[in-house]
Every structure is written in structure tokens, then in C-alpha cells.
Symmetry: C2
Subunit: 158 residues, 2 copies
């Protein structure tokens, strides 16, 4: 590295405020979700994706596509959820693409009951703080960064 | 709760893309930081704050103000960092406000060496993906959400 390209004032403000904000949003929505459902955000994300699939089940690769988690994280987290009785793994006999991850009907109803509570928290803490223009700007900013991360030289290293 | 106020398309897009983006930014900058320095993001944040203080030390309450972590998290994390030799706790004899958390001179130099590498990662993955107007918009969005979280009924519950 030659000369460090330090952040200027505008850049430092954006990065710093983003870091503070996302840390607080995560810890606040996470602790409310935990209190309301006993689930972590990661558990909840997996279960919502399963409950939104027509048969209440997805292949690990489909879960990976929906969550954008790396393969090893999916596999590790699903294993722990299975041990806690939150999901089941089903072997897939009709083709060779391996197993399904499935949610039970009872768990699906529990997630459907939790959803309005969770969405209310998200609204109070996040959505309702922003104008429609800011919501659009945030979506575009997020997409620009996601595109950058997908393209970057580090795209395959995780 | 009466009728759930589901997110509309614009709101759902902003929330979903924000969640995906922050998850990826965190895991990517976190893994690069770990590789470059052996430190977690939380370790790094504490050490940067200490290294930026004139005497290389801060009171736990000052660290809490800088990181916006809750008191119990500061106390827990600093204890673990002390056990790993990353910081020291100094008793404060001249007043009754308790201890300081301090960084050693050697560790301070290590953090100063790591900073240009870290800032380059932040720039590549985040800052350089955004226009100046987007940087300003993101700072304002973050500040609006932080203000909402500070004001909200949940402001004291963590």
C-alpha cells in the first residue's frame, strides 16, 4: 500500500453513522424478537423463508439464495436448529440433489402469529423514521453496495 | 394489536435490502479485519477508541458513549479483552469514579499500523460504491433512525 486513502469528513460520517445505526437496529430488533418469540434473528430468517415456501420446505441451496449466507453457515445453523426441534431435515429420494429443510405445521403457525408483532417493531424502529424518498434512497444505496460486494475481488472468498 | 400494518412494497424493499447489505458488509469487513489483525470488529472498535484518546485510556462510561454499547456489554467485553492481554484495567486512585481501560503503547502502534488496511477495505466495499449524495443520504438516514431509537419507548430497556 502506498499512501493510505483516509476517509474524508463526509465519508467518515456516513460510515460511522451507518455502523452505529445498524448495530443499534440489530440489537434492538433482535432483543425484541427474542422476547416475543424465543428465536434469534437467524432462526427467524430461516423459518420465515421456509414458511413462505409452498410446501414449507426448501433445499439448503435455496435457503442460501434467500438469506445470502455462505454454504457452511447454512449447514451449521440448520443443524443447530434441527437439534432444537425448530426444523427437520428430510432426505430426498426422488433425485440426487440431497436433502430438504422443512418447517412443521405447528411451527409455521407460530411464525405466522409472530410476524405481525415483528413487523410492528420494524416499523416503529426503522420504517417510520424515514420518508418515502429516504426509503427509496436506502434501498438504492443497499443495492449499490450489494452489487459492489458481488463483483469485487473478494466475491468468492467466503 | 388490531390490524397488522404490513410493509408495503417500498418499505419491504428498503428493509430487506438494508438487512442483506448490512449482513454482508459486516461479515465481509469482519472477516478481512480478522485476517489482517486477528481482532474482531468489537475488539477493533474498543482499541481504536482507546488509541484515539490522548492518554490511551478511557473510563468505561466514555467507551460506552463512543461505542453506544450498553454498560453490561462494555464490562463483559473489556473483561474478555483484558484476559487476552488486549487492554489493561487501571484503578483510579485520585477520584472515586472507578477504573480506566487502557491500551499499551505496543498495541497502540499495532492498531495504527492496521488502520490503513482497514480503511482500504471499508473504502473498497462500501464508500467507493456510493456517490457523494448517497453518502450524505445514508448519514442522514442513519441519524434519523438513531434519533428515533433514542426517543422511542424502548430507549431505556436495554
Amino acid at each position: 500500500m502506498t499512501q493510505p486513502r483516509w476517509l474524508d469528513e463526509r465519508e467518515a460520517r456516513a460510515w460511522r453513522q451507518f455502523l452505529l445505526m445498524q448495530g443499534q437496529v440489530r440489537s434492538r430488533t433482535g432483543s425484541r424478537l427474542q422476547r416475543a418469540t424465543g428465536l434469534s434473528e437467524a432462526d427467524y430468517e430461516v423459518l420465515v423463508n421456509l414458511s413462505e415456501s409452498p410446501d414449507g420446505r426448501l433445499r439448503p441451496s435455496e435457503l442460501g439464495g434467500a438469506t445470502r449466507w455462505e454454504k457452511s453457515r447454512i449447514s451449521h445453523h440448520v443443524k443447530r436448529m434441527e437439534e432444537r426441534g425448530l426444523v427437520k431435515r428430510l432426505a430426498c429420494k426422488t433425485d440426487r440433489r440431497g436433502s430438504w429443510v422443512a418447517i412443521s405445521a405447528a411451527r409455521r403457525r407460530a411464525i405466522e402469529r409472530a410476524a405481525p408483532v415483528h413487523v410492528e417493531h420494524v416499523r416503529e424502529m426503522f420504517i417510520d423514521a424515514l420518508t418515502p424518498a429516504q426509503l427509496d434512497a436506502l434501498a438504492e444505496i443497499s443495492e449499490a453496495i450489494l452489487a459492489r460486494l458481488a463483483d469485487g475481488p473478494e466475491g468468492c472468498d467466503e
